[in-house]
């Protein structure tokens, strides 16, 4: 584990608890990036153009960097290229901001080719507006030769742009494939469920408990980067449950764009299970729910939201009910669950079942024949067969989606006329 110093510039008259929460989030991110926090520096002031924090405070950070010898200095506030340059010159140490840290984490967790491309895209989009400045700052010390003979600002920026368009093209091909896959899954009668929510809310644990499978679960931010989809049987109906990347406050647009295809699994679902960690302080929960609602508002097409109030086992009944009351206005269709103990999962399944696209329940009477037997097995695959009576005719009580109902009824008509 490498040592780091965290720096946060706080806005004057901003609430203390909010500042604390933001710093805690940065601490968690640093931990997720496999860093050890040795020192935290805080200053309350309006931003400085040269150093983000005041010059005096920057010198203080430089002294700390000299004595502690950290691998990096991580700022909570977004830094301009000039600020990064000035600070790293002064501190003689690599200086990054929260977004670069997130990019680092994403890069280290990306395992599939697709997610690696998404990370690369996010990195390039972050770098593009800075490309010119980076080159001009590097040129201050270097003579011709940066990026090859005579290759200066324009060529570097052009190069970044070219790489962005190439990656986007490749990603869009993959996106078409996943759209087709989603359409196919829908046409086969699967309802799509997605787990969404703030990072570290317990989505993967809930996923693992629901589908009864070992998915990587860790008490760390951004454990899940690539979506994982599994079958889930909800009271007899087959659905597909997808575990996705968690949300984060002030999620920068370049990250949302880069991970659009990942997040689209959330936005195109029939039902979204919005997972909330109820053991956190109420104002934090509220803020996180508001962030999630904000992301849904911009992207959501048509989906029912069910709020899975997770980690309920960590609270007493009184505490739980008072917290539920204060977040009720932000929690549509709330269900109290505990992914670790399994408490409330049956209620969760019931409420999911109630919101699944409606299926028709009907009776089918078919004459005994070879074709009927294949129809019976087809109905077992496509719907829920509540009962089958074999006599002179085969009488079935079936529940299935509309297309299957119409097909079955026309088959019944055709076979009974023979």
């Amino acid at each position: 584990m490498k040592d780091v110093i965290l720096v946060q510039r706080r806005i004057p008259r901003c609430s203390e608890s909010e500042n604390q929460r933001k710093l805690a989030e940065l601490r968690e991110l640093a931990r997720a990036g496999n860093y050890n926090v040795v020192q935290e520096v805080i200053q309350t002031r309006y931003p400085d153009r040269q150093y983000q924090i005041g010059k005096g405070k920057a010198e203080e950070v430089a002294e700390l960097a000299l004595s502690q010898k950290p691998a990096k200095i991580i700022f909570y506030n977004p830094l301009s290229v000039t600020q990064v340059y000035n600070l790293s010159e002064m501190c003689k140490c690599e200086v990054i901001d929260k977004f670069q840290l997130i990019l680092e984490i994403f890069a280290s967790r990306a395992t599939t080719r697709r997610s690696r491309m998404q990370v690369e895209l996010a990195r390039l989009e972050y770098e593009l507006p800075r490309a010119r400045k980076i080159v001009s700052l590097l040129k201050m010390e270097e003579r011709p030769g940066f990026m090859g003979l005579g290759g200066y600002e324009d060529s570097y920026e052009q190069d970044v742009k070219k790489r962005i368009s190439r990656i986007k093209k490749e990603l869009s091909t993959g996106q078409r494939d996943s759209e087709n896959l989603r359409g196919y899954r829908h046409s086969k009668g699967f309802s799509l469920l997605s787990l969404a929510g703030y990072t570290n809310a317990g989505k993967s644990t809930l996923f693992r408990t629901l589908v009864d499978e070992n998915v990587e679960v860790e008490n760390m931010l951004f454990t899940t980067l690539s979506p994982t989809t599994r079958y889930l049987n909800i009271n007899g109906r087959w659905t597909l449950l997808t575990d996705t990347v968690g949300f984060i406050e002030d999620l920068p647009h370049f990250l949302v764009d880069a991970f659009r295809s990942t997040l689209e699994d959330v936005f195109r679902a029939d039902i979204i299970l919005l997972v909330v960690d109820i053991s956190e302080p109420v104002d934090v929960i509220r803020k996180k729910l508001a962030v999630s609602h904000g992301i849904f508002w911009e992207q959501l097409e048509k989906a029912t939201i069910i709020t899975a109030i997770n980690k309920a086992d960590r609270l007493s009944h009184e505490e739980l009910s008072s917290r539920l009351k204060s977040i009720a206005y932000l929690a549509p269709n709330p269900v109290v669950v505990s992914a670790t103990t399994g408490e409330g999962l049956d209620e969760l399944k019931d409420i999911i079942y109630a919101h699944l696209p409606e299926w028709k329940r009907f009776t089918l009477e078919l004459p005994m024949s070879g074709e009927t037997m294949s129809a019976v097995s087809w109905l077992f695959e496509e719907g829920i067969v509540h009962s089958v009576n074999y006599g002179n005719t085969v009488v079935m009580d079936v529940e299935a989606r509309n297309e299957v109902y119409h097909k079955a009824k026309s088959l019944e008509k055709r076979l009974s006329f023979r």
Binding site: I11, R13, C14, S15, R286, L289, A290, H293, G294, F296, W297, L300, T304, I305, T307, A328, Y329, L330, A331, P332, N333, P334
Partner: protein, 135 residues
Amino acid sequence: MERIIAVDISGRHRHNSRYLMVCAAVSLSVSGGHVKQIHGVNIKPFVSDNPPEVVDVVKMIERTVEGMEGITIVAEEGDLFNQPEWLSNSMFTASFKYPESLSERMGIEIAHHISLSSRNLLLDPQSWEPIKENL
């Protein structure tokens, strides 16, 4: 279920050397994900020679919501010049907040469409179409 007044102001840009603004306020009952009921709508036009400042925005909103039923006024952060919530809240006599839930955002969207279409209507008096030729 929560009772709110969603507010939006249209026309905060110069038009023929004046600022012609319409503020719409919609009183709603909302749950976490849905607008349950719309209780009423108030629309009020305002005119100014100078661009509106925060205090003007607060005044316009308070004048528009007068007499409406609702516990909290909800408006977009941008309408209040992206001030911190506590600062905006302290400027209103009623309770005020920025939207959090989907339904609160939906309320503001309704208010936005009302204020925008009302302003368009007011700016174009020629748009009155006769139903019969002799009118």
